[in-house]
């Protein structure tokens, strides 16, 4: 029996997912409360990207809607999905735990507390299109992971079990603290819907400024994760096993943790806490592609992006003009798809 040469298959899978993502982006950009013909959407994008221009057959207001409103939002959704799915696969691989998701070591509680605090603060300032809420959400997520990592660290090592436990406890504490703030603060009482919006998740990108900041963070994070993915594979052998095949365990653990946390924090800063993407996309793809992170990381990034673009489009259209929290959609589509994959072929799913 021969071993299938992985590379050609990998390239095929990536191309397929890339095409699917581009398709989703195009369709999602065309759909919305103001209907713009699909052909016009493509032409508008073409004109913007390439020197050769089509003559405009559309209203200038349509062009503004497509380029300045919908496109940044759709691309923002793609970035969030890519970041969360990649963070999910990184943490599942690192912790050898299929139940891990991007929020497992405290990023969700930290960012929620940060966002709540920002809503409470009287100051309002914006930086590169980011208000106080996304900035403090980002900072809250990262500082919580630092805190958890520091608390779990004993004698130069950070055992995974300690980290999971510390993450759980710190999350519980920060969440309690957040609800305390909400309960005692009158001004937050009246703004409970914005807190709720953050907790349920929703892509809130209102222009290119936010994309310009989050896109480099998320894209570079995914590329670095892919470059070092062969070391993440070795973590499947356990920490000692990974060391036996030449991986500096503590250094790489810190590295993958940092990558996963930065990706999550960047995603959360423009979307709040969207659940399910980081858990279900890696699972679904692992069932189809196997656990090798060299293919899983790029595949998760692309599939996560496409998935969230679809979910976000549904979130803003199904109950239009009302916008649903995208977290509801991700769970409602994600769960059945996941269950189908789980039961497909009747084979026991080995974790």
């Amino acid at each position: 029996m021969r071993i299938p040469s992985g590379r050609r298959r990998h390239i095929g899978i990536i191309l397929l997912l890339l095409l699917a993502l581009i398709g989703c982006l195009a369709v999602a950009t065309a759909i919305g409360s103001v209907s713009v013909p699909f052909g016009d959407v493509l032409k508008i994008c073409w004109n913007k990207l390439l020197p050769f221009d089509f003559g405009p057959t559309w209203r200038t207001v349509d062009e503004t809607i497509i380029l300045d409103v919908r496109l940044p939002r759709v691309i923002g959704g793609a970035l969030v999905g890519a970041g969360l799915a990649t963070a999910g696969v990184l943490l599942q691989g690192l912790l050898r735990n299929p139940m891990a998701d991007p929020y497992i070591i405290g990023t969700s509680a930290g960012s929620a507390l940060g966002a709540t605090a920002a809503m409470l603060l009287p100051i309002s300032m914006a930086f590169l299109g980011f208000g106080m809420v996304p900035m403090l959400a980002f900072a809250g997520a990262l500082s919580t992971v630092f805190l958890v990592y520091y608390l779990a660290r004993v004698g130069g090592r950070t055992p995974i079990v300690s980290m999971l436990l510390a993450g759980f406890v710190v999350s519980a504490m920060l969440t309690a603290f957040m609800f305390l703030i909400i309960t005692i603060s009158d001004s937050l009482h009246s703004r409970f819907s914005s807190v709720y919006g953050f907790l349920m998740g929703g892509v809130s990108v209102s222009g290119w400024g936010q994309i310009a900041v989050t896109a480099p963070i998320i894209l570079v994070g995914i590329m670095l994760a892919r470059l070092w993915s062969f070391r993440l594979n070795a973590f499947a052998l356990g920490e000692e096993g990974a060391a036996h095949v030449g991986v500096e365990v503590e250094r790489n653990k810190a590295l993958f943790l940092a990558l996963g946390s930065v990706l999550t924090a960047a995603a959360v800063s423009i979307s709040g806490l969207i659940g399910f993407v980081g858990l279900v996309i890696p699972h679904a793809l692992r069932l189809v592609l196997g656990p090798d992170h060299r293919i899983m990381i790029p595949a998760c990034a692309l599939a996560g992006a496409a998935f969230l673009v679809i979910a976000d489009t549904l979130a803003r259209t199904v109950a239009s003009p009302r916008e649903l929290p995208v977290g509801i959609i991700t769970a409602l589509i994600g769960a059945p798809v996941f269950l189908y994959l789980l039961r497909r072929g009747g084979k026991e799913y080995s974790l």
């Binding site: 029996m1 993915s229 062969f230 052998l237 095949v245």
Partner: protein, 272 residues
């Protein structure tokens, strides 16, 4: 040159001393069986040699290089380890597990190559697990798994292989198969092998040199005839045994002697 040179090595966990003044020199191409009661320090010795633990005192040289100063990646090209227990999360296929043995040779922009695939095919052939390609690691029997892990360790292409009781959970036919494989790697490819062994008779049958440990120290070192004597075994394991030469091969074999009371009970039972 020696594959391993350990001088006055001490190691202690926070709760007590585990290795005391270990002096061990292993020539290239030797096959050494490490024996001793539970808690004697066999696993700790293996972890110190493989660089998982750093000796508190003394020096460990692998192939003339100071093990404490080697980077993990360089160390993984010197010494491969087959651990006692091995489980792997997620549905890894056999060839994917063996490929993990190539990790020390991978780099960020070169993480899969034809050469790596060639090497893992060869090692799977040598160990006799080529027909398992495509199967999930988790679905294999204990004996098959152990051979796949051996293939992974061999894919590291090191000169030194450490094994921690590789036959511990196997039935007798798989135990023999595993040890035959090791003997063959040793004889044909000059692989230096150090293996902790539970079964003294198998150790005696397959290893020309045995190292007996007790309470963190090496108490006997030499051919089975010198290490497996009733007095050394009684001292190390606190059991009384009878040593007799194997009727066909002549290597010493260990026969346990039940206590007088137990023997007495058995005799009554068989008479009745």
């Amino acid at each position: 040159m020696s594959a391993i040179e350990m001088k006055r090595v001490c190691f202690s966990y926070s709760n007590g001393l585990v290795l005391r003044d270990v002096e061990l020199s292993v020539r290239k191409g030797e096959m050494v069986g490490l024996i001793g009661p539970n808690g004697a320090g066999k696993t700790t010795l293996i972890r110190v040699i493989s660089g998982i633990l750093n000796a508190r005192q003394g020096e460990v040289k692998l192939d003339g290089l100071d093990a404490g100063r080697l980077k993990r990646n360089a160390l993984a090209r010197e010494v491969a380890v087959v651990p006692q227990q091995f489980n792997i999360p997620f549905a890894y296929k056999v060839e994917e597990v063996v490929m993990l043995g190539r990790t020390p040779f991978m780099k960020p922009f070169r993480d899969s190559s034809e050469m790596d695939r060639g090497v893992i095919m060869q090692t799977m052939d040598r160990v006799g697990v080529r027909q398992l390609v495509g199967r999930y690691f988790g679905e294999l029997s204990g004996g098959e798994r152990q051979k796949v892990v051996l293939a992974m360790a061999l894919a590291q292409e090191t000169g030194l292989l450490l094994l921690d009781e590789p036959t511990a959970h196997l039935d007798i036919s798989h135990q023999v198969e595993m040890l035959e494989l090791l003997a063959e790697m040793n004889a044909k490819r000059g692989l230096t092998i150090i293996s902790a062994m539970h079964d003294l008779n198998l150790a005696s049958a397959y290893f020309r040199r045995l190292v007996l440990m007790k309470e963190g120290a090496i108490v006997a070192d030499g051919p089975p005839e010198r290490v497996l004597t009733s007095s050394t075994i009684a001292a190390a394991y606190s059991v009384s045994v009878h040593i007799q030469p194997h009727p066909l091969t002549g290597v010493p074999q260990v026969v346990v002697l039940p206590s007088t009371a137990a023997a007495e009970r058995l005799r009554h039972h068989s008479v009745a």
